[in-house]
Amino acid sequence: MLSRKEHERYHRQIMLFGETGQEKLKSARVVIAGAGGLGCPIATYLAVAGVGHIRIIDHDTVERTNLNRQILHWEQDIGNVKTVSAGEKLRQINPDVEIEAVQVTIDEETAPGLVRNADAIVDAMDNYPTRYLLNHLACTFGIPLFHGAVRGFDGQATTIIPGKTACLSCIFPKAPPKEIFPVIGVTPGIIGMIQANEVLKYILGTGELLNNKLLIWDGLHSVLETVQVERDPSCTECSHIKS
């Protein structure tokens, strides 16, 4: 049941998908892996939409070089733990949702317990090894994974429904080389919004997802396009999952 306050807060979107939709959002549990350039806008918009339980995970502390894009971290937060910084802001943005901010490194040991009970996992990471681990767990537990990545003015996103769509390893069998990537804040803002939009549609069961579609954003030319991808029948991660 939604409270009177919640009715008021979500009035404009209840007009879109009704009380039932809002209740679906309220009972959803979403894990956001990363509280950086992607994680900050994703968490902000899922929180204001009323996603009832958000677990945001990061192991880093805030540095000044983060501030051009990681919008939940401010000058005053430099040197503080990112999850504390993000958690504080998110609770102020919407006190009606539960924010669980977890400071831990996502690795083979910690990750299964962090994602097991989630309805959705959002990839807001900055490296492929951790992305592949999240993909592995998404496939193992049958949890959708919402992928996004950025560099400079460029970005990409896709939605992975294990057993139904290409997984991350089907699309990107090999990781690109590691680098300190250049980036302008609007790029993770745009890609993060696409990921958050996908999560909301998935929870609400509305619209069409980026299933088997890789969305590519070219911010320098303002061109957004999608290309078709498909499951790899020999994929080591997902080929055993029946559709």
């Binding site: 990545a149 400079g152 069998p173 990537f181 078709q228 020999s234």
Partner: protein, 91 residues
């Protein structure tokens, strides 16, 4: 035959977003990429690994569809669009 090459991200910065290249009939994906690298060392360095193979992380698409296994040997046809996309990694 003429083949359209569409480049994304770093590749677009090097060769522009769309190029039409002239290839011999029956040319492969590898042939198209070698032709582009003959015109631009920078493209070659970004596209190929030390052994002269297309770098494993680079995504290739023909007519909007990703190509996987044995991708370098696929024969292109007149009017095909070959797209080259380097996945990005930041977050």
């Amino acid at each position: 035959m003429k083949v359209r090459v569409k480049a994304f991200a770093r590749f677009r910065e090097i060769i522009g977003s769309e190029n039409i290249i002239d290839l011999e009939d029956g040319s492969s994906v590898l042939g198209a990429l070698k032709s582009l690298s003959a015109d631009s060392n920078e493209f070659g360095e970004a596209c190929f690994d030390k052994n002269g193979n297309v770098a494993s992380h680079v995504v290739l698409m023909i007519n909007g569809k990703r190509i996987g296994r044995d991708r370098e040997t696929i024969t292109l046809l007149e009017g095909d669009e070959l797209a080259i996309f380097p996945p990005v990694a930041g977050g």
